[in-house]
């Protein structure tokens, strides 16, 4: 009886209709896309309304025109920032999904990924191959290298620092994670300083081209300012989307994904069904770490110079994004990251304009963005996409 049931469910998996396949792999992407449009429209609408309302208060400049001129660029900035948080948040949310535990070392996994890229580019540069290598090949090679190293690192950290503590009270692995994070920072500092890479490591790339100018926005005095997106940012977004599709495929379609979801829902029961829980958890760390490593590589490529502490702040923000989206929910992590990125970009760019320079936007961006976050969480405590009974992973 039992055997029959198992084969039956296997058949269901293999004979999944094309439609459900598409909806499970690309559905979340659609959801993310809707949130991108939604955030842009809502926040853009708010700043335009504010500009209209405050128009009379400022006589020195045309507030409405100033607002509209930079709006497209602010949306692009927000999108790029959002995808950064989103890709890191995926790692937090996957680990939380299976272990209900916040892996605070994830920001450092991201940092290690960035350093792997820096080492890779330095090695290429010293052998003179950097300028001759095709940019696409370079990006692909660097991303895969970063994914491999960070993924394996995350897996070994789980083995050494978390698995022995799995039965311990919940705070214990948390402390262990903070410890791992400090260890990784300083070990990487030691390695970077002693290998000639330097504390401020350079991430060189082949020529990736000039920023892509999408439009010219007119501004006073017959001057126009370009709306542009950096080619590196474009690569970031494209790779992030590919990763999300891959992750959805993995979690929703494959047998491994089913095992991960089973472990997330009920670990003892999954174990009784013959799932090797330890292996599934290790694989989850591998996937989360690989995503973090890829994000690190893309981040380093975009910024050009990294140091061993670059992982801390993006890590913290990504954790916030994961909570905002509903921790444990993969699409939620993406959505949360994007919403947070938009909030920060809008506040940083517009606050100063609307307060006549009284409040510096960049200084207060975090305060305003996080206040809005608190408001959202008061009304939706389980996050934007979290449900009362969270559908984990």
């Amino acid at each position: 009886m039992a055997v029959e049931a198992t084969t039956g469910s296997d058949l269901v998996i293999t004979r999944r209709s094309f439609r459900s396949f598409m909806s499970e792999v690309f559905g979340p992407l659609l959801q993310v896309f809707l949130f991108v449009i939604g955030s842009a429209v809502v926040l853009g609408g708010i700043v335009l309304l504010l500009a209209l309302a405050l128009r009379g208060a400022r006589t020195d400049i045309d507030l409405l025109q100033g607002t509209i001129t930079i709006l497209p660029q602010v949306i692009i900035d927000g999108l790029v920032r959002g995808f950064l948080y989103a890709t890191i948040a995926l790692g937090y949310t996957m680990v939380y999904g299976v272990l209900e535990f916040i892996n605070f070392a994830h920001g450092e996994i991201f940092m290690v990924g960035a350093f792997v890229g820096a080492f890779f580019s330095a090695a290429l540069a010293s052998s003179g191959m950097l300028t001759t290598l095709s940019p696409i090949l370079f990006v692909i090679a660097a991303v895969f290298l970063g994914m491999a190293v960070s993924g394996l690192l995350a897996m070994s950290i789980e083995r050494v620092a978390y698995r022995p503590l799995r039965g311990a009270p919940r705070l214990v692995p948390l402390i262990s994670a903070i410890g791992v994070s400090l260890v990784l920072q300083d070990v990487m500092r030691m390695i970077a300083v002693n290998t000639g890479l330097g504390f401020n490591a350079q991430f060189r790339t082949p020529d990736l081209g000039q920023p892509l100018v999408l439009a010219q926005m007119p501004i006073a005095d017959d001057r126009t300012i370009p709306v542009s997106i950096d080619s590196r940012s474009l690569i970031f977004i494209v790779v992030a989307i590919i990763m999300l599709i891959g992750l959805n495929y993995l979690v929703n379609i494959t047998k491994l994904g089913k095992a991960i979801r089973a472990v997330a829902q009920d670990r003892p029961a999954a174990s009784l069904m013959g799932i090797d829980v330890n292996r599934v958890i290790a694989v989850t760390f591998l996937i989360g770490g690989a995503l973090g490593g890829a994000a690190g590589i893309l981040f380093g490529m975009r910024v050009g110079s990294i140091n061993p502490y670059v992982g801390f702040l993006p890590g913290l923000k990504a954790f916030t994004a994961a909570v905002l989206g509903g921790i444990g929910n993969i699409t939620g992590a993406m959505v949360g990251g994007i919403v947070l990125g938009f909030l920060e970009a809008f506040v940083a760019s517009y606050l100063s304009l609307f307060t006549r320079g009284q409040f510096s936007g960049a200084s207060y961006a975090d305060i305003v963005a996080f206040s809005i976050l608190i408001l959202i969480l008061i009304f939706r405590p389980s996050g934007l996409l979290g449900e009362v009974v969270t559908q984990k992973v």
Binding site: V74, D186, N200, I219, F299
Partner: protein, 419 residues
Amino acid sequence: MKRISAFLIFALLGALLAACGGAPAAAPTAAPTTPPAEATAAPAPPSGGMTGVIKIATQSPLSGPQAALGVGIRNGAELGLEQLGKTLTDMGFTVELAPFDDQAKPEVGSANAKNIISDNDILCLVGHLNSGVALASLPDYQAASLVMVSPANTNPKITESGYPNAFRIVGRDDVQGAVGEEFARTELNIKSVYIIHDKTDYGQGVAEFFRQNAEKNGITVLGFEGTEEKSVFDSILTPIQAANPDLIYFGGIYDQAAPLFKQARDRGITAAFLGPDGLDSPVLLEVAGDAVKGMYYTSVAAPVSQFPDAAKFAEDYQAKYNEAAPPFSAQAYDAAGICIQAIANAATAANGKPTRAQVLEAMKTLGTFKGITGSYEFNAKGDPVKGAYFVLQVSTEAGAPAEVWNKNAVVKRLEIAAP
């Protein structure tokens, strides 16, 4: 299973300890270069009281993003102790350097300060690099009457807060901000400026002084923003691009300025860049590359090559540490020299190893000290009576950043009395 993990954890801890142990162990090795044997061999000491260990402490960031400058301060002081410490060793004392790493963090500096004052052999301190760290540590130094001679702190509050034990051999931000503003207005013909700072005592301080002077003298200030962002400056650059200023003034340190300037140029922002002495590091050029070539910055400390008396120091530094002397290292050498002179004066007056209070008294009556970066005389607040200020231009030559940086030219030199 459990045993293996425990073993791994121990192995990890062991590796860590080994890693941590490496750095501090290297520091005290410099001390024995002033051989205590001299004390016994030379029958010179006039009295039996002139014995014992005298330590001069340094506090500067030896690790972290600003270590390039902080290590320079430590090394400069170490060299100063080796070459000028003879005054004290001839008297019969043993002289040692006690380097501390403040990590450019106020809380670390303050914790170190408590360690420093609990060591009674430490009679004088050379430090800090960061004004914010110095301000956090000064209350502890004051409680112990420990003299602090700063080779780099430019925030006015250092000497304006009423600490009798705070001295510096560099100029002040209120003057430095004004020097930058005047240079931008008269030499660069700047009509509008966008000011960004790093929200620290130092960066925001100098940026505020720039803004005050700019507003007073008719430069339009299009924006004044503070940020702790270190890598992605998109949200700051978008409003700048719309405002289209002639100049971007950055009040802060090079580790933040470099990516900011680089990303601004990548975006097609053509404004000129200007900043204070926090930008004075080859790392700026290394990270920002072409974006900063030819830009100007103001400084209280010109490159070592600008001081004719410091040529030997530059050679000695290169020989001993195998790198070009970074900014502020020559000032640290002089600060150590001032410490030694004050301690020697106090020792002569007390006819024995002086107390910290006696060293402080000696500092106040030091008179003129002739160092390798200039002659220093302190006013009642602890400022040099006349501070030197420089406007420098980043060299446009090709080559390794550390070497190119030393070719930066002084475009203007001003001697301005402390306000």
